[in-house]
Symmetry: C2
Subunit: 222 residues, 2 copies
């Protein structure tokens, strides 16, 4: 059974491997499966290995001190989960990870990662780049959270997600998830969205969003 497509993985794609099967057998790793909605990793868990999502998709969310949920992101296989934290001094998971469907996770010991990095320059480079991109993602998240008004967050989010040429796009989150993502209350988000629709700035049809007036949308950032 081939469960992993290494070439699609951001940190493994550059590996020059003759025999993928042999490579994976060589790797001292264990594989575990999880059912839909199962909690895979808990915020605060010790992170002594690299967890590679090899099949399915998961969501990560942060539980704040006050019990609020802050949605972080949805991750689809194949991709490593929180790869940076394997190497941190206080190596604990920063988020809860929950299975969105049937999921398969490969657990690779830290020592194995070290070995791969030392013997394989391309792997090292990919791993570094991937981690750097993750940091950039976190920075963007920080930027989004630091916008104080909900309309500003929405504007930032929509402008970021809209291609230059295409002003219509699908957002694969329902309103509740979107509110979690922004760290605001659901009815507050609904109010802002409906006001923006009334003002002719955007239109919403189910999960399809369209920017009608990007000038006004940009003004909401000010």
């Amino acid at each position: 059974m081939k469960t992993v497509d290494l070439s699609a993985c951001p940190v493994c794609s550059k590996l020059k491997i003759d025999d993928e099967g042999a490579f994976l057998e060589d790797l001292k790793c264990s594989i575990k499966t999880y059912a839909k909605n199962e909690l895979i990793l808990r915020q605060g868990d010790v992170c002594d290995a690299l967890y590679m999502l090899t099949l399915g998709s998961v969501k990560t969310e942060m539980i704040t001190d006050n019990g609020n949920i802050l949605g972080i992101e949805i991750i689809k296989a194949p991709r490593p989960l929180a790869p940076a934290f394997v190497f941190s001094d206080n190596n604990r998971f920063p988020v809860d990870v929950t299975a969105l469907e049937e999921v398969e996770i490969m657990k690779i010991p830290k020592a194995e990662i070290m070995r791969l990095m030392m013997t394989n320059p391309d792997f090292m480079s990919s791993f570094m780049t991937h981690n750097a991109n993750r940091t950039q993602f976190l920075t963007n998240r920080l930027q989004l959270l630091s916008i104080k008004t909900i309309k500003g967050k929405v504007a930032h989010f929509l402008l970021e997600n809209s291609a230059v040429d295409n002003k219509t796009f699908i957002i694969n989150r329902n309103q509740t998830e979107l509110a979690d993502f922004f760290g605001v209350a659901r009815p507050s988000l609904a109010r802002c969205l409906s006001e923006m629709v009334q003002d002719g700035i955007i239109s919403i049809n189910k999960k399809e969003y369209r920017i009608l007036n990007s000038k006004k949308l940009r003004e909401l950032l000010i």
Copy 2:
């Protein structure tokens, strides 16, 4: 002139180098100095090299779309600035960096970093760990920002900064900087602080903060 103490640097400390001088001469890098309050790096600048702060201290802050300032951290030499971003796909600086005093910065090309990593396992390990710790720092920042009430942020911050045994400590930020750090308005922070003092939860004397009632402080997180 010896400007750098490698042993104090989080990513260079483990380097086994006989002749520090020769090592630094070998490194294809350039050194530049900046005056107090000078803007060293601007958010969005292309980041094609590792910037190592070798002397002095700087502050980093993020300018959000709406022009607000979000204070991130104060960095003292020796330490690399935004090391993760050298390797990111979209390698641009995430923050403004401003000199807090006379500052010296060493610019090391990306290729040199790669060479060091490949030839020096300890350097690689330190670099990885440092980047991981930076990610963890960003995650903590994210957690702080996701707390919605100002008192909650203050409580989180104070509890995080207070040692277990010592309930008194110095915060080297004035009220304005603290407000920027929390991403709130200065008078709002002042109001919360004075209420917390009135309620006998904390006491403040200039920059010395003391926790008087840690139980009540913890309740503010709920």
